[in-house]
């Protein structure tokens, strides 16, 4: 290894700087991750950072109804525990109240007198005793408001509702069926085109490059109607459905090509000139040069493009809903998750959990392609070749 930048203080400084940037960048995502593990009612009720510590929370519990009353010493008594029955939470009650406006009017353990001679005691452990000189009539018990200290509470429910929804496995396969060819095909086509534009003699080269750059800016939304019309006409002409996998592969390929060609061309054009010239002198034709020399050398660039194209296709919803049907055999993962959100937009718990469900595959791809970004690949193969 090189030992430039090896000065110790600068080394520490470097590490600190990177840690700071990483923290800044991951902080918002951390919020999403923690939110996705929270109870769905809590997500929009308190900041996600508060989920990490135990906090005093104002809560509401409901006492048992008249069916559970017992007569004791001439008094009617209803007793129970506020932490019972609910979602299995426990905690310590510090204060309680019987009116929503004053949820912490009384300290825990104290006894308050209510209307009509009723008394209520709520203890620290959440147990309560309500007594009355007359029989309770309400089937539905009254509310008790209380302040309790809650330990951090996390749940996998949100993931469960996303991962075990019907048909999600199939839509996952559908997404892969769309994404894999829609990533590989443009790489191949673009790599050949990029090589031609970088190293082969052909007329209007500059113009072609400029047009490809110009096509980068074509807003996708604008091309949907003309293309769908074309698909319908082609489908009708050939007697096949207009919304097929082939159709969406080609669509993603078409939309991804300008960027692919642009990126790969700049990389391939930067390869050492003598490398290619010497191969030409050896009598290799361009196809051979491309296959044997250029393709292995531009692996890092291919890998980078593959990642971006994969991400874009994987996360795409618009192209999929327009060019692919929405039956179970064609609905992609993004479409499926979108359908879970309900007619009027999403509930936060599904949004947060599904964001992480979709991110798993792209991250796996990223990590598996990352090993191709290795220094010396270029130099090594030059020496070896």
């Amino acid at each position: 290894m090189l030992n430039r930048l090896r000065l110790e203080p600068s080394r520490i400084l470097l590490n600190l700087a990177v840690i700071f940037i990483i923290a800044l960048w991951t902080f918002p995502t951390a919020g999403l991750l923690i939110s996705s593990l929270r109870d769905k009612n809590d997500i929009a009720a308190s900041g996600w950072w508060t989920a990490l510590s135990s906090a005093d929370r104002k809560q509401v519990g409901r006492m048992k109804g008249s069916a559970d009353q017992v007569e004791k010493d001439g008094k009617f008594v209803i007793s129970g525990n506020l932490f019972e029955g609910g979602d299995g939470t426990s905690g310590k009650v510090s204060a309680f109240g019987t009116k929503v406006q004053t949820p912490s009017a009384n300290a825990a353990g104290s006894t308050v007198t209510l209307d009509a001679g009723q008394t209520l005691t709520v203890n620290v452990d959440g147990s309560y005793i309500l007594t009355s000189p007359t029989k309770f009539a309400d089937e539905r018990g009254g509310r008790i408001f209380f302040v309790s200290s809650q330990p951090p509470r996390f749940t996998l429910d949100n993931y469960q509702s996303v991962l075990f929804s019907e048909g999600i496995g199939r839509s996952f396969i559908n997404s892969l069926t769309v994404t894999i060819p829609a990533t590989i095909i443009p790489i191949l086509i673009a790599a050949f085109a990029a090589y031609a534009l970088a190293w082969m003699k052909l007329p209007f080269r500059g113009l072609l490059i400029a047009i490809i750059v110009g096509l980068l800016v074509v807003p996708l939304q604008m091309s949907l109607i003309p293309l769908l019309k074309l698909y319908n006409a082609a489908g009708y002409f050939m007697g096949v459905p207009s919304k097929t996998y082939l159709g969406i592969w080609l669509a993603h390929t078409g939309f991804g090509l300008p960027f692919a060609i642009y990126l790969l061309r700049s990389y391939i054009a930067g390869l050492p000139k003598d490398l290619i010239e010497s191969a030409q002198i050896d009598g290799a034709n361009d196809f051979k040069i491309f296959r044997r020399i250029v393709l292995p050398l531009c692996f890092p660039a291919l890998a980078s493009f593959a990642i971006f194209q994969f991400l874009w296709v994987w996360n795409d919803l618009l192209v999929a809903i327009v060019f692919l049907g929405s039956g179970p055999d064609q609905l992609v993962l993004t479409g499926k998750l979108n359908a879970l959100l309900g007619s009027r937009g999403g509930n936060w718990e599904i949004l947060t959990a599904s964001a992480f469900v979709t991110i798993i595959v792209p991250l796996t791809v990223f990590f598996s392609l990352q090993r191709y970004f290795v220094r010396g690949l270029l130099a090594g193969s030059v020496k070896g070749g």
């Binding site: 929503v100 406006q101 408001f145 769908l228 327009v322 929405s326 309900g342 009027r344």
Partner: protein, 451 residues
């Protein structure tokens, strides 16, 4: 390459060959609240081998409801019904119809959009018999027919949209127990409502939760407020004129309605989060304030669908309830107007099955099934009210039936650029501090800019 095409086609055919056998949720003949005779009649319609595609706005739980209803049509006729939806389905309908590959039936919540599509010749008109049936069988039938009627490409007026499934919008949600704890009574008039709001402020609380946030549709909840207020301050004819812009946005009647809305939403003492919060708080989060301890607010004006955004386990009728958004005692002559919304079924690609499906929607059974499944109101007089899933729905249904005036959501009927554009953004600006006069002028300017 061609090979792939054929294989994809074969694949598609393969998946078609194995339709899941539908299991009917409510067994035919079992519950007397359903009009089962309809099902036997429907069985005479033979659509075996026909495919019917339906594109609608319902996703999530709503999609489960619509599938339950569709199962009966599948079972009785043998048709293969494919329902689909998507997040930006309004845009997708435009894309699909313009490109020439729409579903057989597209379900649209906006009459304004229907008028646009019909004007471009992209919708197949329904028959005069369909219109006649609706006049005779729907409560306030003619108004429903008018709602679905617009000009075709040739300029002739036709009936395009068949209303099925409606929502009531004129509701104020509250927690009866919170009202009881504080000693508040449900207001009967708008004057009482305002007095109650003032009282809540005096008691140290915030009366209202209003949230206009809705991602790409931010602002729409405010339009419901303004429409409800219009119906409570002006004659229905003025409302109709406002919707078709013969009464301008800058008309004093509209400005007045804006100002009344402003007296709620722009009043920092009235709303949770202050007027700045109103514009940005998400409409899905906003009603949660009713349930917090202590309550962030006591009342929430929203349509009948909102309980699906209440915290889990909150039962309508006990934990939370609604009352009719009251009228001004000073304007008693306007009766009890009700603002509603709903979905209209249009034929975007004509077929025998599509026509048969519209006929299916005329059967009381088609309404009763969804009524029983929840989240569905109907103006169909012959549908059995006993089929409603709960008392709340029955109460809403009764409210709609007893309305002296029923009007459809005005913003849905305005041209899309206004009703789903300038009106929304205008309301956000208005709540953010712009004056009612400037806001109205801005929206009117956008309307004038339309060709």
């Amino acid at each position: 390459m061609k090979k792939v095409l054929f294989i994809s086609a074969a694949f598609a055919a393969l998946s078609l060959a194995t339709p899941a056998l539908a299991e009917l949720k409510y067994k035919p003949g079992e519950d007397a609240k359903f009009t089962w005779a309809n099902l036997d009649a429907l069985k005479k319609v033979d659509l075996k081998g026909e495919t019917l595609t339906i594109f609608g706005p319902w996703r999530g739980d709503d999609e489960k409801h619509v599938q339950v209803m569709l199962d009966y049509f599948r079972e009785a006729t043998g048709a293969d019904v494919k329902y689909s939806s998507s997040e930006n389905y309004e845009q997708q309908v435009v894309i699909d119809t313009s490109a020439g590959s729409p579903a057989n039936i597209s379900v649209l919540p906006q009459p304004g959009l229907i008028a646009d599509l019909a004007g471009k010749g992209l919708l197949a008109p329904l028959t005069a018999d369909d219109a006649k049936w609706m006049v005779e069988n729907y409560g306030a039938g003619q108004s429903w027919v008018d709602l679905g009627t617009s000009k075709g490409k040739d300029g002739a007026k036709n009936f395009y949209g068949f209303s099925y499934k409606t929502d009531v919008k004129s509701l104020v949600w509250y927690s009866p127990e919170n009202f009881k704890d504080a000693g508040y009574a449900v207001p009967k008039t708008m004057e009482e409502l305002i007095a109650l709001s003032d009282k809540i402020v005096k008691d140290g609380g915030k009366p209202w939760c209003i949230g206009l946030g809705s991602g790409g549709a931010t602002g729409w909840p405010a339009t419901d407020w303004v429409e409800d207020i219009m119906l409570r301050t002006q004659k229905p004819e003025v409302y109709d004129g406002w919707v078709n812009n013969s009464v301008k946005f800058t008309d004093p009647a509209v400005i007045n309605a804006l100002d009344i809305f402003g007296s709620f939403a722009k009043n920092d003492a009235y709303v949770d989060g202050g007027h700045a919060g109103v514009a940005s708080i998400d409409f899905r989060d906003s009603p949660k304030g009713l349930f917090s301890t202590p309550p962030k607010c006591y009342m929430h004006h929203q349509a009948s669908f909102i309980p699906s955004f209440f915290p889990e386990g909150k039962k309508v009728g006990t934990d939370v309830d609604f009352f009719y958004f009251p009228t001004f005692a000073a304007k008693a002559d306007l009766g009890t107007p009700v603002l509603g919304a709903g979905t209209l079924f249009t034929i975007t690609k004509d077929s025998k099955a599509a026509r048969a499906f519209i006929d299916f929607l005329k059967l009381p059974l088609a309404h009763e099934i969804w009524m029983a499944d929840g989240g569905f109101l109907t103006p169909l007089k012959s549908a059995n009210p006993a089929a409603y899933a709960n008392d709340a729905a029955r109460k809403e249904g009764a409210m709609m039936a007893s309305a002296t005036t029923f009007r459809f959501d005005g913003s849905d009927m305005m041209p899309g650029k206004i009703g789903a554009g300038a009106f929304w953004t205008g309301m956000v600006d208005f709540v953010g501090g712009k004056s009612s006069v400037d806001t109205a002028a801005e929206i009117q300017k956008a309307w004038d800019a339309l060709k």
